[in-house]
Subunit: 204 residues, 2 copies
DNA sequence: CAGTATACCAAACAACTGTTTGTTTTTCTA
DNA sequence: TAGAAAAACAAACAGTTGTTTGGTATACTG
């Protein structure tokens, strides 16, 4: 399963040798939609091909396997989440707690509202596609390292377990995909509420 | 999909008219193991039947469908989690924060260490089995109401959003299934750490 | 010990899965 | 405008899926 199994236009993202009427974007969008809604295993190549207006076999012109297709969607998902979070993270002058809240808000928005690609990253478990699980995990870890920066820069008591704090916060955010329903609370409001629960003293 | 689709011995749990050499427990254990490890959709009736030492078709003596089998496993999972959490919850004399920590520890242990049934409840999404999704959700909600009691009894500032606190904590706990690896940290230690992060003031 | 409900076997079903192969149409390029 | 590369079609493949049907052995009951 080397990178050469993947179509050139997908491998380097350069779109070299790509025709203007290519339905590749349609394929990726359709795959992202199904993966986000039904999960990887519950989506068939026929589902995707049908939604993109083509035949199942034609997908193999772009991707060597269903799992390679997942990688493309997943990578794009990570890219979009990073893109959403980065601006909040780069405001180095801001108050660290406000910065964290903004990072969380961007993270949440990417998972809950900003489309299907971001949702895939949280919804699909790496071991749903065993052959490429390691690569998916690597992509996710790459982003989590980014997120961790927002936690690391907090002015905390020395005793505080920053890793636990990161895991706790990230878990709370990611799990929201389970119960969140649009319209009631905005991702921003939720993020602020979560961060405040951590910041404000609740005990005694 | 009425309850009458289910075998009597499963429907009411009474085991009335059940022969002593029944392999029903084996079936449930095998199903729980596969559902917990691979997920619902990635587990075939042949997987389960094989592990229980019987033929795929024989499962339909007990369950009208794969999804009915899931309900049985799922319900047992909820039952076991409740059973694990209840003792901690019933210690009404204890300090509310310590009580919450104990509830979280029991919850975590049920998800991470106490076997397969509990894991299924977190691992399997209700809409993985659309035909019975509502029943699965109801089971999960039933338990969450129990968990909420531990949060509701905390002595908190009036402004505190208890619902957000519950969602945050439950999310952090449930998501641990994604990253937890046995041996490093015990569920008890993790639960205490999470609760302390909420209780102790981190800001300023 | 006879009879019956229980528990399972054996074999097949149609539908669906990811994937392959050879061919054809279409766009871009020289 | 001829040729080459790109993009897709058309049809099938072997394997797997959940499920059904009819028969059979076994344990329990009276």
């Amino acid at each position: 399963m080397t990178p050469s199994d993947v179509h050139p236009a997908v491998r380097d993202g350069s779109r070299t040798g790509t025709r203007s009427d290519s339905r590749l974007p349609l394929v990726l969008d359709a795959a992202a939609r199904f993966f986000a809604e039904k999960g990887f295993g519950y989506t068939s190549m026929r589902d995707i091909a049908g939604a993109a207006g083509m035949l199942p076999g034609s997908l193999y012109y772009y991707f060597a396997s269903k799992e390679e297709l997942l990688i493309a969607v997943y990578a794009e998902g990570v890219r979009r989440i990073e893109e959403a979070v980065r601006p909040a993270l780069d405001k180095a002058d801001a108050d660290p707690w406000a910065r964290l809240a903004n990072v969380c808000a961007a993270h949440l928005a990417a998972l809950l509202e900003d489309g299907d690609y971001g949702q895939v990253v949280i919804r699909v478990r790496p071991d749903d596609a065993p052959a490429v699980a390691a690569r998916l995990t690597a992509l996710r870890d790459e982003y989590e390292a980014l997120f961790a920066q927002a936690v690391d820069s907090l002015p905390l008591p020395a005793r505080t377990d920053r890793r636990a704090l990161k895991l706790m916060l990230l878990g709370a955010l990611n799990w929201s995909q389970t119960w969140y329903r649009p319209g009631k609370d905005s991702p921003q409001a939720l993020a602020r509420r979560f961060v405040r629960l951590l910041r404000d003293p609740l005990g005694e």
